[in-house]
């Protein structure tokens, strides 16, 4: 199983090298859409890690308020500074602070 993942991820990397070889033919529309991949993927990774939908016992959102507050603080830092390291540090410190309280 693990070896399969290793091989598959290697194939993944090679596929990008291969795609790179015939790049001249990437249609402009695809190139335009690719611009939206990073924000869409990162948001789809980040938001569900903080808030999830639950139907049991009743429909509603499930979240840990400490994490949501810390993530919001981090998001403000990220928005204002666009600095990755600073965002992570502030978010972690905010979470630790909230957990201690």
């Amino acid at each position: 199983m693990l070896i399969a993942i290793g091989v598959a991820t290697y194939a993944l990397r090679m596929s990008f090298v291969f795609l790179f070889e015939w790049l001249d033919t990437v249609p402009t529309q695809i190139e335009k859409s690719l611009r939206f991949v990073p924000p869409a993927v990162l948001a789809a990774l980040a938001v569900p890690a903080l808030v999830t939908l639950s139907t049991d016992p009743v429909a509603g959102f499930v979240f840990d308020s400490d994490r949501v507050v810390a993530a919001t603080v981090a998001a403000i830092v990220a928005w204002q500074t666009e600095r990755v390291f600073l965002t992570i540090v502030v978010g972690m410190v905010a979470l630790w602070g909230l957990q201690v309280v």
Partner: protein, 238 residues
């Protein structure tokens, strides 16, 4: 190099979460040199932890890594002057950070093929070494960090931090908002299919909005020339 501030914690978190998810240490380290793409690795590790089928893990990693297609498309004109062997080497080193720093450099200063290759490889090798060392550190030290410190929270934080670096305008904001909401609403789907559907719908909606805006712009221009284009009638019908 301030860029390393973004690479080192990423490598560390990747190593630590991989071991935490039950991936053997050696394979966790190998993963960083084989894949060499933090966000895809983190997504794959999370899926591995949920015992998702290999096909789903790979598909998710491919989608997370689709952005490399965009990078290689935009940096290709500079790579074309390298020999084919160097292009294969350089393509391997094409990460978010290498791309950002090299493209900025190539656009602002003119380089001979050799000096641009040296610049690019210098950036790529520095980032590669920092990433491998920090992954190893994460694998070794990460397991000893008590769970009360909630180190796993650094993963969504990393995604948030990166998210704000790629949001440039209204359309990219919409892509992120749609993808995030759909991701949450379809979170009940197994194996992070919520992530896939969120990302795909986000890209689709943003593309649609961008296209209709382009059509609106061009039809305005053309109707100024009193010539009604087909696209405009199509748009009015829809």
């Amino acid at each position: 190099m301030p860029l390393l501030l973004g690479v080192i914690p990423f490598g560390f978190i990747t190593g630590a979460t991989a071991v935490d998810a039950g991936i053997p240490p050696l394979q966790a380290i190998l993963m960083s040199s084989l894949v060499f793409a933090g966000a895809a690795q983190l997504a794959a590790i999370e899926l591995y932890d949920q015992a998702a089928p290999v096909g789903i893990i790979v598909l998710t990693a491919v989608i997370v890594n689709l952005r490399h297609l965009m990078y290689s498309a935009s940096i290709a004109p500079y790579f074309n002057r390298f020999s084919s062997g160097w292009r294969w080497v350089c393509a391997y080193g094409l990460t978010d950070q290498t791309y950002a720093v090299s493209l900025t450099e190539f656009q602002s200063n003119s380089h001979s093929p050799q000096s641009s290759r040296v610049f690019y490889l210098g950036a790529a090798v520095t980032i590669w070494v920092a990433y491998q060392l920090s992954t190893t550190a994460g694998v070794v030290i990460g397991a000893r960090i008590p769970s009360e410190l909630s180190l796993s929270f650094a993963v969504p934080l990393t995604f948030i931090a990166l998210l704000f670096t790629v949001i440039e305008d209204r359309t990219t904001t919409i892509a992120a908002l749609v993808a995030g909401s759909i991701g949450v609403l379809s979170g009940w789907l197994p194996y992070e299919l919520g992530l896939l559907s969120g990302a795909l719908v986000g890209v689709a909606v943003a593309t649609f909005i961008q296209q209709s805006r382009t059509v609106a712009d061009s039809s305005q221009e053309i109707s100024a020339c009193s010539e009604a284009p087909d696209t405009q009638t199509e748009r009015d019908n829809s």
